[in-house]
Amino acid sequence: MATQQSRTLARYMMAPAVILLLGWMLVPLTMTLFFSFKKYLPLRGDSLENGLEWVGFQNFVRFISSSAFWPSVSTTMIMVGGVLIITVVLGVFLAILLDQPLWGQGPLRILVIAPFFVMPTVTALVWKNMFLDPVNGLFAHLWKFFGLSPVEWLVDYSLGSIIMIVSWQWLPFATLILITAIQSLDSEQLEAAEMDGASAFHRFIHIVLPHLSRAITIVILIQTIFLLSIFAEIFVTTGGAFGTKTLTYLIFQRVIDSQNIGLGSAGGVYAIILANIVAIFLMRIVGKNLDR
């Protein structure tokens, strides 16, 4: 149905979006790549005007060999992995539960989804002060009520606390997507299996879980993309202290706190590569879907 004229028109209509995104991608990326090969310490008088010293791969080597690098990688992996496990397992459970016949399904769903709409800085601060605070936090009250001494959550169990906070935030997302997926499950198939004597456990393993596998994959990939760049939750709670420095946060500190742009940019290049590896898998799935 497309004529030559409408093709040309279509191209013009697409142009602003494509050009803007191309600029948004290429300009900062080129700059990051450029800085990553330079010695660039603005506080010591390095500036773009005076020209920057080319240092080859020195920044890349230094970023990896710094004592903070490997801990930040493992922190990132534990945090992303922990949140993924919690949100997916609880998400599947909640999705199945909310799909059961029960009273007040609509309002209940609203309650469960609500945490996703709370802005990250509010989430972090409310948890930090009103729940995890060792003196006045609700958990401290609860611990004292049972005769236990209050825990300094964000000091002694800092990474676990952040995993919990972030999981609370992302559980609604996983649940929502899994509910949507579970609703397309053929109930006749389940009933047939039930009549044939399959137990609830077997129905779950052989029918429900395979049906959800695609949605679970999507939840994992999309959350990974977002979780890799978690920032505000750490910034507000621990500021990267007590073993909560993720790769993202380490780069942020290199660039903003210690003003070592070259080193931070090299870290940025690593982060971009890491995100792209995850992205490739996600894009395959989304791309496949586009053909249908």
Binding site: M14, L21, F117, F235
Partner: protein, 276 residues
């Protein structure tokens, strides 16, 4: 999956589900409740749930001390402006991709998606430098542009999936009847596209409102939206729970309400149409 079950089973389901649901919602409920307490009651041990002297004083104090309205206004302008800007740029693009697809349409869509996955921290300093040299640091317009750009892929994708669902047969029929391109767009496409555009706007306002990397890093006193305002409570004001709660409640209330309307769109928007 509606199956007939016994009332007892249904009651049990309801009990378990509501218990868990209330547990998940509890931090929000607790924040809202605390915002109506006095500071002393807010940290009282044992905690007081409902039977306290309800007061609106915290809201008044938060507004007075920190000029809450300015941050709110910044949030409204930045979230609204970036969404509007994004829609203006994305509608023509999504329209042409949905109705005049070419061999490269799929590649362009996938590429747009890939820009969304660029980790923000990787380009923090370049953007910071560009903002300084363009005089955009701590301005609403600068933030508006950045948030528009980070959400543009989602806007294009969402609109694309909605536009794709408009049956092209209708367009062909209209053309047979001699409708001009203008009439086609004005009387046929627009009415069918409006629900999709509205959903897209809704989701993007939510995403822009809650964005907390660029808003924290590119603003100071002038253009700071609510995300940055709340972050400034981290200490020592954060120890005043009632005021923190009042500020938080005001910051999340508009989006909680909008969010509840947008559950379905959220799934479609954030999974790039892979789950509908």
């Amino acid at each position: 999956m509606a199956r007939s079950v016994s009332t007892r089973r249904k009651a049990l389901n309801t009990l378990i589900a509501w218990t868990i649901g209330l547990l998940i919602f509890f931090p929000i409920l607790w924040t809202i409740l605390t915002s109506f307490k006095t500071e002393a009651q807010a940290i009282n041990d044992p905690p007081i749930f409902f039977f306290f002297d309800w007061t609106l004083e915290n809201y008044a104090v938060v507004q007075e001390r920190s000029d809450y309205m300015r941050f709110l206004w910044n949030s409204v302008i930045i979230a609204g402006g970036s969404t509007l800007l994004g829609i203006l740029i994305a509608v023509p693009a999504a329209w042409s991709m949905a109705f005049v697809p070419s061999k490269r349409t799929k590649d362009i869509l996938m590429w747009m998606l890939s820009t969304k996955m660029l980790p923000a921290v990787g380009v923090l300093y370049p953007i910071y430098l560009l903002f300084i040299s363009l005089g955009l640091l701590d301005t609403r317009i600068g933030l508006m542009v950045v948030l528009m750009l980070i959400n543009l892929p989602i806007i294009v994708w969402m609109l694309y999936t909605y536009f794709k669902e408009i049956p092209t047969e209708i367009l062909e029929a209209a053309r047979m009847d001699g409708a001009t391109l203008k009439e086609e767009i004005l009387y046929i496409l627009t009415p069918m596209a409006i629900p999709g555009i509205a959903s897209t706007i809704l989701l993007n306002i939510i995403l822009a409102w809650n964005e907390a990397f660029w808003t924290l890093n590119l603003t100071a006193a002038q253009a700071a939206p609510l995300t940055a305002f709340i972050a400034s409570y981290s200490s020592p004001e954060g120890l005043f729970y009632a005021k923190l709660s009042a500020a938080s409640t005001m910051a999340i209330a508009p989006i909680l309400i909008l969010g509840w309307f947008s559950q379905k769109q959220l799934v479609r928007g954030l999974t790039f149409g892979a789950v509908k």
